[in-house]
């Protein structure tokens, strides 16, 4: 059997005016922190973290994000295999043929599983497409590395996630992230503890958002 028509194409749309490809990459980085970026017309790859911190606009209209360098190498050497399926997401951006104010974003995966459902839902929220429900309120892009630097924190995104998880498990071993968030006084105390550990005045919302992002990363 020829496999040329394989894959699942999820088609979202987003406002042209507010579109920023780094928004997509940032959402994927929450799930694949070791993710690797590649423009579809280039041979070279770059870590997602590097692309996200580079100044200037990203002009790619077609690109891949691999789960990690091993996955990128596997796709480069073999194309699709049973082992690397769903470890690469293909993005294509083009004009929305039905609305000149919007862009159409095609997200290609191999098959639906729990991880891909979560990731596509996160992308849907970031793109404010409303494809999986009602239109969403705009969310500012969270570039955690930049936000941490702005708060005077010397840790990168990965180190910060690890510190958050370490602190949460040590201080609230019986609670899930949701249970902690449902106890505001304790959540504030938790944020204070994290700030003292990282020795920087990181805002509450960044700590709480990172706590939930850390949870999402664990299930991928």
């Amino acid at each position: 059997m020829n496999l040329l028509g394989s894959g699942i194409d999820l088609i979202l749309t987003t406002a042209r005016e507010s579109y920023d490809p780094k928004n997509i990459l940032d959402a994927v980085a929450d799930f694949w922190p070791q993710g690797v970026f590649q423009d579809a017309s280039e041979e070279t790859t770059r870590p997602l973290a590097v692309v996200l911190t580079q100044e200037g606009e990203l002009s790619s209209r077609e690109f891949f994000v691999y789960q990690d360098e091993t996955s990128a190498q596997s796709w480069r050497d073999n194309g699709k295999t049973a082992a690397n399926a769903n470890r690469m997401i293909h993005f294509l951006i083009q004009d929305d043929p039905s609305d000149s104010d919007r862009l159409q974003i095609t997200i290609v995966i191999d098959e639906w599983n729990a991880d891909m459902i979560r990731l596509s839902a996160a992308l849907d929220v970031r793109l404010e497409s409303g494809a999986l429900g009602q239109p969403h309120k705009p969310l500012g892009r969270l570039n955690l590395d930049a936000e941490l630097r702005a708060a005077g924190c010397l840790l990168n995104r990965e180190q910060f996630y690890e510190e958050i998880e370490r602190t949460r498990k040590a201080s609230y071993p019986e609670w899930t992230q949701d249970e902690l968030a449902c106890h505001p006084q304790e959540a504030l105390r938790f944020c204070e503890t994290v700030r003292s550990k990282v020795q920087a005045p990181v805002p509450d919302h960044l700590i709480m958002k990172a706590m939930f992002n850390a949870r999402k990363r664990k299930v991928i």
């Binding site: 059997m1 040329l4 194409d9």
Partner: protein, 100 residues
């Protein structure tokens, strides 16, 4: 228009004067059909863009487009097309068949 395949597919299709590309149900969500691409041999990241194993890129059939193939919905419709039934390519449309 191009159709990439492996040795078994290559030998099967080239066995007749006219090329007959058999429709099938591809993995994923796409419709039953015979699938083709406008992407040429040597296109960077060809296997990734088509989401197929490299082993399926060993051979290619190239033929002139008659404008009767349907684009895949979404962005990949820029370069992936399909016929909802078996697709026949007569000799006058055939350009090249062989290794990539």
């Amino acid at each position: 228009m191009n159709h990439y395949t492996d040795l078994a597919g290559y030998n099967g299709i080239r066995a007749t004067v006219d090329w007959l590309f058999k429709a099938h149900q591809p993995p994923g969500s796409h419709p039953f059909g015979a699938y083709f691409t406008t992407l040429q041999r040597g296109t960077p990241n060809l296997a990734a863009r088509l989401r197929i194993p490299k082993s399926k890129l060993q051979y290619v059939f190239e033929f002139t487009d008659a404008g009767d193939l349907r684009p895949l919905p979404g962005g990949r419709g820029q370069f992936i097309f399909y016929s909802p039934a078996d697709y026949n390519v007569v000799k006058s449309r055939q350009l090249y068949a062989g290794v990539t």
